[in-house]
Symmetry: C2
Subunit: 600 residues, 2 copies
Amino acid sequence: MNVNERIAAVRALMAEKGIDVYYIPNEDDHLSQEYTAEYFQCKSWISGFTGESGCVIITKDFAGLWTDGRYFTQAENELKGSCVTLMRMRQEGVPDAVDFLVDQTPEEGTLGFDGRVVSAAEALGLARRLRFKKAKLVTGSDLAGEVWGRERPSMPAAEIYTLAKKWTGESADERIGRVRQAMKKKGADVLVLTALEDPCWLLNVRGNDIACTPVAYAFAMVTMKKVSYYISKEKLNKKVKDYFEKIHVTIRPYEKLAADLSKLHGKKIWASLNQLNADLYSHLAEDNSIINETSPVLLFRAVKNSTEIRNLKNAHVKDGVAMVQFIRWVKENVSKGDMTELSAQNYLYDRRAEQKDYIEPSFHTICAYQANAAMMHYSATEDSYAEIRPRGVLLVDSGGTYKDGTTDITRTIALDELTDTEKKYYTMVLKGHLALMRAKFLYGTAGSNLDILARGPMWQMDIDYQCGTGHGVGHVLSVHEGPHGIRWGLPRKSEGERLEPGMIVTDEPGIYLPHEIGIRIENELLVVKGTKNFYGQFLGFETVTYCPYDLDAIDVKYLTDEEIDQLNDYHAMVYEKLAGLLGEEDRKWLAEATGKIEKK
Amino acid sequence: MNVNERIAAVRALMAEKGIDVYYIPNEDDHLSQEYTAEYFQCKSWISGFTGESGCVIITKDFAGLWTDGRYFTQAENELKGSCVTLMRMRQEGVPDAVDFLVDQTPEEGTLGFDGRVVSAAEALGLARRLRFKKAKLVTGSDLAGEVWGRERPSMPAAEIYTLAKKWTGESADERIGRVRQAMKKKGADVLVLTALEDPCWLLNVRGNDIACTPVAYAFAMVTMKKVSYYISKEKLNKKVKDYFEKIHVTIRPYEKLAADLSKLHGKKIWASLNQLNADLYSHLAEDNSIINETSPVLLFRAVKNSTEIRNLKNAHVKDGVAMVQFIRWVKENVSKGDMTELSAQNYLYDRRAEQKDYIEPSFHTICAYQANAAMMHYSATEDSYAEIRPRGVLLVDSGGTYKDGTTDITRTIALDELTDTEKKYYTMVLKGHLALMRAKFLYGTAGSNLDILARGPMWQMDIDYQCGTGHGVGHVLSVHEGPHGIRWGLPRKSEGERLEPGMIVTDEPGIYLPHEIGIRIENELLVVKGTKNFYGQFLGFETVTYCPYDLDAIDVKYLTDEEIDQLNDYHAMVYEKLAGLLGEEDRKWLAEATGKIEKK
């Protein structure tokens, strides 16, 4: 079946069930925002668009894919030839997907979706708006899944494993204790942990159910007396079972959470309606009250303890070694003529994999040559990749998950002498990147207060990179993690937007000129305490990514003395961290790559 | 009666009426945040603190004044010798005033205040929190007013006047039309305008009831058919009465608003509970529903039309002429030995007053010598002012209201060769000021996204100026106006924080080192459209303040080439705007003061 046939089949089912508008979001039953098991990838299967963000809406005579600026070019290519219209989110004249759903549902009509993969908050919002039209909501129908049928992959079933205290710095008991304290403060009787990362963090276990993120499909329910872990039994080996017994965690079948929720009565249940799916929500009796707030585990996860910080720095040292080996290899071999995006990213995968305690890539590497790099989330595949020639730049955004921690780094590599314009762009991105890196700020500052430091040099040129500047990074968990971030505009919600010592955030401004060039530079920054004085507690950043920028891509005339000093200091630190771990040739290369630069 | 006796008298009344905790806020019956009629200045009368922000709380055995960082030094001085404790807001260990009120009210106790000068929102919040303590609220008692007695000034009664369309660019009819459209959108039957500026803007009238702001004590009520204006009759002369008749505005006695509100039933009433006093709120019948949102007039006021923009630029040209005359006079006469903060500020008042269509100062001038300038809202008075010697700096923050518009400008003047440290501080403030001035940003940007541009250079030195960077400025109305502003942290509310073309905002970073020095540089910026492209609509600022910075105070070594170019361009523009309006000597002086500077 091709995309058009799949959509026709969904339309046939819609007609059969009296559904006027059908909605296929991107999420799984945990409302994961990024990687999901293949089982849940209905949006991609039905539309042919393989990007990690977006949704599909199907009506009798229209099928549209909504996705954001990061994916426009990719989606344009992947949707070519199908009946699916690309809806460019946040562009003038493009309706919001949710508004469109409501708008397209006729008076007294029906809107349908699979309630397992839509949040309770979204479903309640839609129901409220549809009421004005006397329209109804049908949430029990997985039409794309039905059409997919026997070809649909099954749910993953990888074994989970424990992560010792030497990696996490805190036992599950201690973490459960902290969570119960937070519950007491809110007066919660029950906490339902639905985000995939939350039970992993709480119980110090990791899994292998989805790509690039060491988590398992599981839920947890915490009360003052009991911790229940909902997971398919096949994922538990003897060692893990013993562990759970020792820490008094009750194992329950994955699919029993709905039934267990329906047994709760008169309880104060802490569950974010943004993170609880509509199907589970429908099982809650009305005599409970809901504390609709983000799980306390999100903030606990975001603030790293001293063991995690020591370990993650170690992970970044290993990552730096792999990156240096890789960049030197690219620079020295690109003119030989047989380098491709695919061979390059494989070379880098191998360098990381050689490192001790390596688990997996922390996300799909973006190894994008010149114009391909303008697609922010471009992916070279076996079917489609470019040759890398000794001209322009190679943008490589990659990371590794080690038992020590999770990394995320981007470097843009000059493959030959760049044009003046290319150098100017690289240097402007670097200026923004450095400005955020050296920022000092009072406690209370949110990411939205700092974004312009990184974005400013691009805005001054009437260019925008159309995405956030930075995101949190999990500890041996998701590479993208909240609640904080570096973004412009008004914060989505106030809580948790504040930067706290111990948080990790990326610093990754860029320039993306469609069909021309893409440049991005990314380090991870650790929020640390600075001076405390009359004015309050100052905070700042310690850079934990150790890898040189590309001196071949910099036009020094755009840098201030302060920026030159900062760059030289950073490069000296990188050399000091990595030199001892590199072979002779790599070390020599690094010494040059981190050599002092001067204002001409 | 001295302060201690006044407080003792209030305590006697509290005992009589069974009130445990008594609260005296800063506001008038319109909840004005800054200037109020003397009649309403209970907080100052009772405590001796004359600053424009703060509140007093009195219990059996404690009296405290809460005020913010701008006023710490002033309050320290003014409270000396009284029983009133200075509560430094937002400093570690200092409880929030509202928390303190609730905390100090005993179980089943009583908290009292004058409901006319506390917002409905604040009163409702307090009532809700007191309910947990079974405590009650008494809102009918103006105890400070009772003690003040016959010495209390009466309510002001100045005549109001109309402002022709050539000044405002829009007739009252047109403005009423816009307001009714906004009401329709919200489904409001009635709009109650309580902010002093709102009826003035709507009806194109101005008054003279409070210092430095051309407004009258009045309310307005707008329905789809009728506009009622609540004002004391003695303020209306024949010409104004005819005007209101012509535009079909019904005049009602000031004190009848409460009674008219109580006649409303089954209506959707638009009134911000933050801006409606608790006494008026108590007159609303329960069968009405309240649209508790900021008045639409706030945003209408903030976005200036083309006539207002043309006029306000004219006002700034006049202001620039006065400032140039003043600065030259200071510099040339400071060494003669008889200059004081008072004589200097009077000299400046006179220069503004000579300008055409001048109305009044737009706020009390801050003319503060060296260490006095560290008090952000310092005021020299007849009783207390410093001599100005040819050493250090003079900070002058002043503005005028002209029929053309309202101005607000700060310059810090070097009185002699400054020390290296003083120059460094001046230059850092200038760097922040210039960075905000030249910012470009996409539509959707809020002031909280931009604040760091101005504040950054100070934070990098572990210094903070402990207040916002900028505020809106009214058009022949308050010099401080929302809804926007340039502040760090999380926005108070999302709505209206976005910068819109046509808004005016000040750019006034500073450095304030208690007992040492104060430096501030302030221009007004107009938000203007920039490039519109693939990324969206870019905005930027056009500077509408025309007055040189002090080249004697700048250490060029701290400036980048970009900053030097920007400064030279600004100075060239200032010279071009003002030179033709100055006398020979002033023009010569300005030519030098705006001369090109270069990197050494």
